[in-house]
Symmetry: C2
Subunit: 342 residues, 2 copies
């Protein structure tokens, strides 16, 4: 490859101004697609090579943001991956960055992976998801003062930049809605209590029940792994409670358990969305096609992605953005599964 | 950052051999996690920086593979994204590569995007998905002799490396299965005929019907965009046909249309999975939770990802792999929706 071809030569050959060539080849500003094509074709033909790797080396920057995610079990839908990645990749491109994907490992393997990507200068920053209490990735990145933004929260005393969705508010809306539909004995299908996200969602239910003056029967709290099967089995147990303790509605902290609950209730001959109310969480694509269509809490995933990249680019630009913690509000999408009458 | 710290110093300080340090810091071979941690920590403390950007510049390689995908409509599940990315990212990492994501554009915008990533040396190769006839991306990459592997096929006369799933075989299996269940009047919900993938899937249905000696009524062929609504509406039209032309089964080339068909038939009071058979395609996570559970064609997505990266790394290694076109066999997952009796 020749390094002698200059922007000026490309401009002369393509019959456009130096500024226009510079804009196109450096990815700055907007130029008509037709003109851009001519410039790229000319650059190719003349052998112009503004090697990004070389430019990044001078700037000591890779213009890459590292991201890794937790794959779902084969029979389960990832409710947010497509939309989240689309949002992040669009926003990153606008800011002159690309996303570098790497596989999610656990424990020490994960820390070494992050160390390797940092020490080798592979990425300029990270986006973390599936965060939890005592998250070792956050501890490591804080220790190294390496830029990152988390989708989700960890320990409240840690002052890290994050964008999260207010899960507490989400289940609070769902629980209030079921109360308004006339339910009193409302059970909850939640996650093991070491989950940061699960705890927030559980708290929304608990708070609204407390405010309504309804004592929560300890049998109404079921903790499972967020699968159809746990939702199904726990609902069967709930329905086997004596008449005066048996719930007439269920708030689930994820859609999979909610669908399990719908099927278990239907199996027991109960009309869901008429005499029994069920709500899910995530508004997973497809839950509108369940029979009856599932009421669920929708997270503003597109906005989460946009805000994360905004925050990250500010940090990478040397700013100390304030605020650097965003709690976005979810939305309750009411469908038939939670209604008292058709 | 200091460039003076050597591997030898890191080895001495960490109390391990030069070979072990080299393995860990260059990402080659396997070393116990505990040892790797000690080496990374030592490398950090001493300020050792084997800058990958610099190393890649010497090798004139970015060790990045570009990938872009077509986002789904908000209410639709992407049936393969999570599994496909997981497979590709795992395989790429083993081969010393990472995946660089960029947003999918159409037309000239897309070509310019590919040109930019190539000319700037940002990526070493591409993986393409959602390929179609006359795919401009394939034309561009062929013109530039730039390495890529496609997930999917394009024009038969183009000799490009691809890994695809045999869609024709998939719908052929589904159609045969419905014939074996005793159906004769079988309709098909397919895509517009300018879709390469849709044509392959449609052909499987047509071929099996021909072999069975059943004349396909032109009313049985419905073309839609692969959404619930088109499946629903076309099925309502099919059910309005006169008795002797009305189908008793439907093969859909995607799960969304199949679910639309299930609901339309149920709306008309027909027992799906008893008197009426329906099959989908993709085995989208969650279709096992539909009532009745949906019979569908499962694609070996994990294997597709692994094979694509294998092929690509051979090409990047300067080989001309033979074969360089792989057509993998799908699998029919039979559930209640296609059965004649419960």
């Amino acid at each position: 490859m020749s390094h002698r071809v200059t922007l000026k030569q490309v401009a002369a050959e393509a019959g456009v101004s130096y500024q226009t060539v510079s804009k196109v080849l450096n990815g700055e500003g907007t130029v008509a697609a037709e003109t851009a094509t001519r410039i790229w074709e000319t650059a190719e033909r003349l052998g112009y090579r503004p090697n990004v790797t070389a430019r990044n080396l001078r700037k000591q920057s890779s213009r890459l943001i590292g991201y890794s995610w937790k794959p779902m079990a084969p029979d389960q839908v990832n409710p947010i991956l497509d939309k989240f990645l689309t949002s992040v990749v669009e926003a990153a491109e606008s800011a002159g960055y690309h996303l570098l994907l790497f596989p999610m490992r656990s424990g020490e393997m994960a820390s070494n992976q992050y160390r390797e990507l940092i020490v080798t200068g592979r990425v300029d920053a990270f986006i973390l998801s599936s965060t939890n209490y005592d998250d070792p990735r956050i501890q490591l990145l804080n220790d190294l003062s390496f830029p990152f933004v988390a989708f989700g929260r960890a320990n409240p005393e840690w002052d890290c930049p994050y964008v999260d969705v207010d899960g507490r508010a989400g289940t609070a809306m769902a629980t209030k809605h079921l109360l308004e539909e006339g339910h009193q004995r409302i059970a909850v299908l939640t996650w093991p209590d070491n989950s940061r996200t699960g705890t927030a969602r559980f708290n929304g239910y608990q708070q609204v029940m407390d405010e309504a003056g309804i004592a929560i029967d300890s049998e109404w709290i079921k903790r499972g792994e967020g699968h159809f099967d746990s939702g199904y089995q726990h609902t069967a147990q709930l329905l086997a409670l004596p008449d005066d303790r048996r719930p007439t509605a269920i708030v689930a902290v994820d859609d999979q358990q909610a669908i399990g609950a719908v099927r278990a209730a239907q199996k027991a001959g109960i009309l869901v969305g008429r005499e029994f109310g069920i709500t899910g969480f995530d508004d997973t694509p497809g839950v509108q096609l369940i029979d009856p269509p599932l009421t669920s809490v929708r997270q503003p995933i597109w906005e989460v992605g946009q805000r994360i990249v905004q925050l990250l680019t500010k940090i990478l630009g040397g700013q100390t953005p304030e605020p650097h913690q965003f709690l976005l509000q979810p939305q309750l999408i009411v469908r038939q599964s939670s209604r008292r009458s058709g």
